[in-house]
Symmetry: C2
């Protein structure tokens, strides 16, 4: 018997991974969570049949969603993570001694439970004393909050299901208010390559641009996400992710990273022309 | 009936593309050449069951294999292309009025014939008057040549079958000799992500480093190649691809490109730590 996990990138494009065994499956109030052991990628966490993280390359996503804002502003002390139930984003954040407080708001406790059981590689710092876990709706959590967080990271699923509200103008506006004077908002922002993903990215970028004075998009090579070309949004009240980067200061911290470095930080904001054009014109 | 083209990235990872119809198949003296019409990627050219180019994203590969060396040295006049039977590399080169002579050496005439018939998008400039086509073995072609080419582009298949000899020390040494004083060698250099590909990349990089004083690796997002994270080798006698880039000069040419721009040129050389480490230590 052969067991294969297959993700449909479009109706006519599929990515398939041979599975040793299924380790976990549960349908929560919000979504279906599965964990597989695979030959190539080690353990694989999926939500509603989409790859969230794999042991082999989770470091790429988590490096890029945390170290880019942290290097842009090394004075960040208070962080809100929305989503990120696997814990990888929190793990990277806890490496900064300067961070005093991390609120993590994950709507689905089952994702955290599954990760604690099968993904210690990412969930290992969820009990750090600076971390407060809230199993709540992130959209409601930010409502009414003012001037509290130096950084908000939206580590969400795709904009379908429970993740949908995390891609709305109202949510971004509430994030703006919840941020301090030099606040930064980072969000995972889909791929520019397949039409449905790209259109979500374009929509999200447009909304963010209308609210934040600085709104940029950056990219990473994540082989287990559709197309392998993945984007993140960087929105900010004051600091520019390239012009205000103090590379020396970040390098002096001596953090070892497998993907991120400060040259790559700058390079990640140099988008291909076709992606820049998409964002500027709003057309795929 | 459903027709799917499937490429095995490893024994346990597959990428599948739904096909409208097969347009062409021929087994030449060297390899099997197929052309498919697909829903997502338009036409698809494969050699021995591996994606060479698709209509949807060939521009990424061809932009990165030509404009990076051309922007580094805008005085390039004489170019040798080895492989590249689809014509896309030659198409991009012919956009430079300053190039006087392009020799293209493709071992397999069948690839050119198939491309002329089905890939006018890439083959459209093969009859440019500056282009000389040689259906010969590129390895033998460079033997004994001295101080002739300002740029050699190795636009090869993977290092199995007829492409194998294009990844040897002897071949790189002959390229060095065939190059002029400021000569540049660019080669497609596999992916860093899957073990077999990465090991080829490491081997090739090491050999090139032993011969050329400047040897760098750069990357691009090519969604239809394994992992989507693709590398190119840049080797040079004198010019450094980042330090010697005159971005203004290239931008003054006014060439429209869908992927390449001079910021991205610099960013492409900012490799992730795990890739840098692989190249430095020689270990996957």
């Amino acid at each position: 018997m052969e067991l294969w996990y297959t993700e449909n990138y479009t109706d006519t494009v599929k990515f398939s991974i041979k599975v040793k065994e299924q380790l976990y499956t549960k349908t929560s109030q919000f979504q279906q969570i599965d964990v597989f052991d695979t030959y190539e990628f080690g353990k694989l966490l999926t939500i509603d049949g989409l790859v969230m993280i794999t042991e082999k390359d989770e470091f790429i996503y988590h490096d890029m969603i945390t170290h880019v804002p942290m290097a842009t502003n090394p004075n960040i002390k208070s962080v809100l993570v929305i989503g990120g139930g696997d814990g990888g984003t929190v793990r990277e954040l806890t490496r900064y001694k300067t961070i005093e407080k991390i609120d993590m708001v994950e709507i689905d406790k089952v994702v955290v439970d599954a990760s604690r059981e099968h993904f210690q590689i990412t969930a290992c710092k969820l009990d750090d004393e600076r971390v407060s876990l809230y199993f709540e709706d992130g959209i409601k959590f930010v409502e009414g909050k003012e001037n509290i967080y130096d950084l908000i990271i939206v580590d969400s699923t795709d904009p379908i299901g429970p993740g949908e509200g995390l891609f709305t103008t109202e949510f971004y506006r509430n994030c703006y208010k919840a941020l301090t004077e030099e606040g930064i908002l980072v969000n995972q922002n889909e791929s520019p390559y397949y039409e449905a993903d790209a259109k979500e990215m374009i929509r999200a970028s447009k909304k963010i641009k209308n609210i934040f004075p600085i709104a940029e998009v950056y990219q990473a090579h994540i082989p287990t996400y559709p197309s392998g070309h993945w984007l993140f949004g960087f929105a900010s009240k004051k600091l520019h992710p390239v012009k205000d980067l103090d590379a020396q200061k970040w390098n002096d911290l001596g953090l070892k990273t497998k993907y991120y470095n400060t040259d790559l930080h700058v390079g990640a904001f140099a988008l291909p022309n076709y992606v820049k054009e998409m964002i500027e014109t709003g057309a795929f």
